[in-house]
Symmetry: C2
DNA sequence: TGAGATATGTCAACAACGCTGACGTAAAAA
DNA sequence: TTTTTACGTCAGCGTTGTTGACATATCTCA
């Protein structure tokens, strides 16, 4: 062999990198988003469309500002994909009742169906990952993923994933 | 209120979507890659550079084909970022000894340092996520993430994350 | 009521990073 | 010696992110 048998160099001082978890996370996320990608391609949509459709379906009546807050992208980026979802009839807009400057977003029936189909696809992967393990493994997975998120975002994220969007509480 | 109080529609037949885990996974991955992003920006690099640097550092002597196999992108996409990493002196190329058509990739000393710095950053997040939980939680997290990956890839991924790249075994 | 803040839309340009298709070269293999 | 393999490269394109600037409608407050 021209190369010595050591695969890695001395990591030097400091903690030893958690290569295994880092890489597993990368591969897992790739497969996780890969499922929806294939279906979305049939509609001419991409991941950005998926995210918008997903969160609008999860939070009917979500505003533009609320969506921007969740996705953390610019309004220009959002508008590009949102416009397509509206034009193709997957998302519907109604003027705000209290504040008429706002545009309240809803999925249409086809939009809801598509969102559900994609969510079920990802759910199947999650279920397969959790089957055969102790029943508390689901909570353990949730806790782990939450702990991977910036602590400063925990309360906002918990509100969101439990169906209590921040922007509706303000 | 114009909208009824129910936040979500009836999910209909079929399994109830695992919204919580789906969304936690999305937010967790965003923060996970967000850490390196900030540092990479200082170098004019993006995520694609990070992935290449990471896997080259993890597997010194990796070939182009091996890297393409891991990243699952086209050689044109890879070449764009790899060329920049080589020109800026973070990655080094040596001709293959057994097969001189191959280009063996190595990180240079600065490249290794950067790769390590980024890996430590992500490691810190993982460690923070796992501290205060039972010691077997790390294995539980690994098992969960692996189970989220397509079963057909399990053996290849396990080889990879344990430091036994496939392309070196063939 | 009138000024200013707010919610949103839009035009233009650009960058990162995927893709396809086509073609070239050097080295290995048959 | 012919074919296959490993890799590079040119050209063009699509998605999705960015910044900056400007327009409009509506709400809020003095």
């Amino acid at each position: 062999m021209s190369e010595p048998t050591r695969l890695h160099r001395d990591p030097g001082p400091g903690e030893v990198p958690a290569y295994e978890l880092i890489e597993l996370f990368f591969f897992a996320y790739r497969d996780f988003v890969g499922d929806p990608d294939r279906i979305l391609a049939d509609y001419g949509f991409g991941r950005a469309h998926h995210r918008v459709l997903h969160f609008v379906d999860r939070h009917p009546g979500l505003t533009i500002a609320g969506l921007l807050d969740i996705l953390r992208i610019t309004k220009q980026s959002l508008n590009r994909v949102l416009k397509e979802l509206i034009e193709t009839g997957f998302v519907e807009v109604r003027p705000g009742t209290e504040d008429r400057r706002q545009r309240l977003l809803f999925t249409t029936e086809p939009g809801h169906e598509l969102a559900l189909r994609l969510a079920r696809l990802q759910t199947r992967r999650v279920q397969r990952a959790l089957e055969g393990v102790p029943p508390d493994a689901r909570d353990a997975a949730s806790r782990f993923l939450l702990a991977m998120i910036d602590p400063s975002e925990h309360s906002a994220v918990l509100d969101l994933v439990s169906g209590r969007p921040r922007e509706a509480a303000q």
